[in-house]
């Protein structure tokens, strides 16, 4: 028994489910103080090794201590799994927001100063024109002034192309009073700079960081400093995988919840119509296994090996999604052994499939939600967002709202329409940006969930189509 166990550990150390490993680990601690000997568990020799006898494997399940540790372990796994990822992503974005605020606001102030300088120069020129003409002939004056204003206009176009946002936060009355006190030179005093937050306020930076790691990339504000660009590159490199992890994680979690809700709803309301299940979830390459589910339930294998074999098959996290919003590959990003509930379910499913060709009762892990429902969820989220944004933004109509939602959620992100981007927005601009960010974060997870739910049927349909067209031999990939 000990031999099998040690062999098993060496073989399956890394690919065992977390639950199994922690099970073994937990057996350690209650017995540490008993000074166990023996066991050659690789990598787990901490303070004692472990009792090779079979009796020690069964933990003292009734002890309160065990229950607490079990709960703690599950909590940690859950936290690490879901809430942890969310928190990590949000924390990463917040950190990035602060960094970009610090990096870009100096440059922003400089840009404002530049614009103001250009304006003052224009004013000076206009004054010179006006002053020189002793008698004011409208035509002449208009001509010269018009040329001057044209030049000013072109410079403004240039500035806006470079990222100037048109805002001028310098207090107007301050300017007026200042020009009365001084001789109207109008140079910005140091006191003015302190009142300007500029385009890189906290919520704008937050949205910017979010658009970088989700690859939306609006571009309505973009870094202009050297440091800003380098930080953007590094930030994107690290943040994008993190966000993909979040999306896949949340997508799977939400899909599971949705399936559970759907199955229960179907059970309650339409129990006459059975919920459609698929026998197993296999990858495109394992289509042969699909037709012979009994094959895979080889009872002669040990339980761990069976689970090992089942892991790719039964895994809730599907194979290569054709893209999704971020071109991720779910099965690779979400390890099969990830967390308590999934392992329980996978073992349960394995037993069910071993018992019969198809599960006797609806198992919510294998229920197939029809495509129409997933599409409805996606579309309604977009429409809901469109309505909300149309209410919030004064000059958006419903088309603009839905266009914005669609373009953002598909991670295209042109940046022509961004909430809170108007110059004369009221103080609700901060709230608007934060709301937009939340909408995007949740929206991505929802889209991932929908793709998760849809992909089974879509792939089956595409395969059928391919077979009917003769491109794919039946039984082939």
């Amino acid at each position: 028994m000990a031999d099998i166990r040690s062999h098993h550990h060496q073989q399956h150390q890394r690919s065992m489910s977390v639950r199994e490993r922690d099970h073994q680990v937990m057996h350690h601690h209650p017995r540490d103080h008993q000074q166990l000997r023996g066991g050659n568990r690789r990598g787990l020799d901490r303070g004692g090794g472990y009792h090779p006898s079979g009796a020690s494997l069964a933990p003292d399940t009734d002890s309160w201590w065990y229950k607490v540790k079990e709960f703690t372990r599950k909590l940690i796994a859950f936290l690490f799994g879901h809430v942890g990822i969310c928190g990590l992503v949000v924390g990463y974005i917040i950190m990035g927001a602060f960094a970009f605020m610090a990096i870009e606001s100096e440059d922003q102030k400089r840009q404002y100063a530049d614009v103001e300088r250009v304006r003052e120069a224009t004013i000076q020129n206009l004054w010179n024109i006006t002053h020189e003409l002793n008698v004011l002939y409208p035509n002449e004056w208009n001509e010269s002034v018009s040329i001057e204003v044209q030049l000013f206009q072109q410079k403004i176009v240039q500035f806006v192309m470079e990222g100037y946002d048109g805002k001028n936060y310098v207090n107007q009355s301050l300017v007026a009073s200042r020009s009365q006190i001084t001789d109207g030179s109008g140079e910005p005093t140091p006191g003015d700079a302190a009142t300007t937050t500029g385009a890189w306020s906290f919520s704008a930076s937050f949205l910017y960081c979010l658009t970088v790691i989700t690859t939306i990339g609006y571009g309505n504000i973009a870094p202009r400093t050297v440091m800003g660009k380098m930080v953007t590159i590094v930030y994107a490199m690290v943040g994008m995988p993190l966000f993909l992890l979040y999306v896949s994680n949340m997508g799977d979690f939400l899909a599971t919840c949705f399936r559970w809700g759907y199955v229960n709803l179907c059970k309650c309301t339409c129990f006459s119509r059975p919920v459609h299940h698929h026998a197993q979830r296999g990858s495109r390459r394992r289509i042969s296994q699909r037709s012979a589910p009994a094959n895979t339930a080889r009872p002669d294998l040990t339980s761990v090996q069976q689970q090992q074999q089942y892991d790719p098959v039964v895994s809730i996290h599907h194979r290569r999604i054709p893209g999704g919003p971020s071109d991720f590959d779910d099965v690779e990003l979400h390890p099969v052994g990830g967390g308590g509930p999934y392992d329980v379910v996978s073992v349960h499913h394995h037993q069910q499939a071993a018992a019969a060709a198809g599960p006797a009762q609806p198992d919510y892990q294998t229920a197939t939600v029809p495509i129409t429902i997933s599409l409805t969820v996606m579309v309604s989220y977009m429409v809901g967002g469109a309505v909300l944004f149309q209410q919030w933004e004064t000059d958006w109509d419903y088309l603009d709202g839905s266009y914005f939602c669609f373009i953002s959620l598909s991670t295209t992100g042109f940046g022509d329409l961004v909430p809170g981007d108007k110059i004369n927005s009221s103080s609700g601009i901060e709230l608007s940006l934060i709301f937009c960010s939340m909408y995007l974060i949740i929206g991505m997870a929802l889209i991932a969930m929908c793709f998760n739910l849809m992909q089974e049927e879509v792939i089956a349909k595409v395969r059928k189509l391919g077979q009917s067209l003769g491109c794919i031999k039946p039984g082939e990939e």
Binding site: H29, D32, I76, R119, W127, T130, G184, G186, G323, Y403
Partner: protein, 342 residues
């Protein structure tokens, strides 16, 4: 660990291999036919998908040129002209009003006028005014670039539809275009990954005549190549970095950008972020850089393929590492909590 991975790989192994191996053992002619059929399907798939993507982009370019380029030059230019004339008339009023021209007061009023004009102008520019007409803006290469940025989900944003129909067309174009692109992405990734692995095999065999056979293997087309060779992630990273460097140098030289700017552009475009502050060939002054837009198009498409390739080659390794990391972390957490309890 190696053993069970092999078993899982075998279990998940490509059915094609099973099929072909069983067929080949029985009938060589059957094997030949199978091979031919596979080759035809392969070519049809890869070439077909590539052609589909390009033709979809071209079709979209024409459609958007028709929708957006032909639309009236519209309010923006008129609006800006109107702004300018109102600014002028205000200035005149200010000047005319003061019988005696006192500099300070005059400047104060003029400053206010200019400030308003500036903000209105900035608003108009954000609304799409840049001194060009719609025909000038929506040339064929620009429209091509726009179509590309829609269905690859890059979304530069330097050129956007302003009409209602344009926006609706964009959404429809994206809905149909994104699956096509995803198909291309997956296909391109597989093809390039296979090519790269083959190339790497040859290289390794040249260098190391015994041939490097590794325990771990990628579950991809292993039946075609003797020996299981895993392409290390560093090789993929080198390929990507090289491609990035090529793009950086190319764009920096052509567009007279700084090297950092060109690198920033390459990274943000290839990662599909697409800020749009730097787009080759899209600046106002250079209207003759149309061919550069086409080169940009090709660069981005091929770049996406290379990313897909790196992704394919690296994902399994990353998965295993992530699993290990996570298990390790949980183990350490348990360990620490256990130690604290003692």
């Amino acid at each position: 660990m190696a053993l069970d991975r092999k078993r899982s790989v075998r279990d998940r192994g490509s059915v094609r291999s099973r099929g072909s191996s069983s067929a080949s053992s029985s009938d060589p002619r059957e094997k030949l036919k199978d091979c031919c059929r596979q080759f035809v399907a392969f070519m049809f798939t890869q070439v077909g998908v590539g052609a589909l993507v390009v033709s979809y982009a071209i079709m979209g370019a024409f459609a958007f040129m028709a929708i957006e380029g032909e639309s009236e030059n519209s309010e923006n230019n008129d609006h800006v002209a109107h702004l300018r004339s109102s600014c002028l008339s205000r200035l005149w009023n200010v000047t005319d009003h003061l019988n005696v021209l006192e500099e300070r007061k005059w400047k104060l009023d003029v400053r206010q006028v200019l400030l308003d004009h500036q903000q209105a102008m900035a608003l108009a520019i954000k609304g799409g005014y840049d001194g060009r007409t719609n025909q000038e803006r929506w040339t064929f290469p620009s429209a091509l670039m726009f179509s590309l940025s829609v269905f690859t989900m890059i979304g530069f944003g330097h050129l956007v539809p302003r009409t209602q129909w344009g926006k609706i067309a964009t959404m429809l174009y994206a809905v149909f275009g994104i699956p096509v692109y995803v198909l291309y992405f997956m296909n391109m990734g597989q093809v390039l990954a296979s090519c790269f692995k083959w190339f790497y095999c040859k290289l390794v065999r040249c260098v190391n005549s015994a041939g490097a056979v590794d325990e771990l293997s990628d579950d991809m087309d292993e039946e075609s190549y003797s020996g299981l060779v895993i392409v290390p992630s560093t090789a993929c990273l080198w390929v990507w970095l090289t491609y990035l460097a090529v793009g950086t140098i190319m764009f920096a030289e052509w567009e007279n950008w700084e090297y950092l700017d060109a690198c920033y552009f390459c990274v943000t475009s290839l990662c599909k972020i697409g800020m749009g502050d730097f787009v080759p060939g899209a600046n106002l002054q250079a209207s003759s850089n149309q061919t550069k837009l086409i080169i940009n198009f090709v660069y981005l498409l091929v770049g996406m393929g290379i990313i897909a390739m790196c992704y394919n080659l690296m994902k399994e390794e990353i998965l295993v590492r992530l699993q290990e990391l996570k298990a390790d972390l949980i183990e350490r957490l348990q360990d620490v909590s256990g130690r604290m309890r003692r």
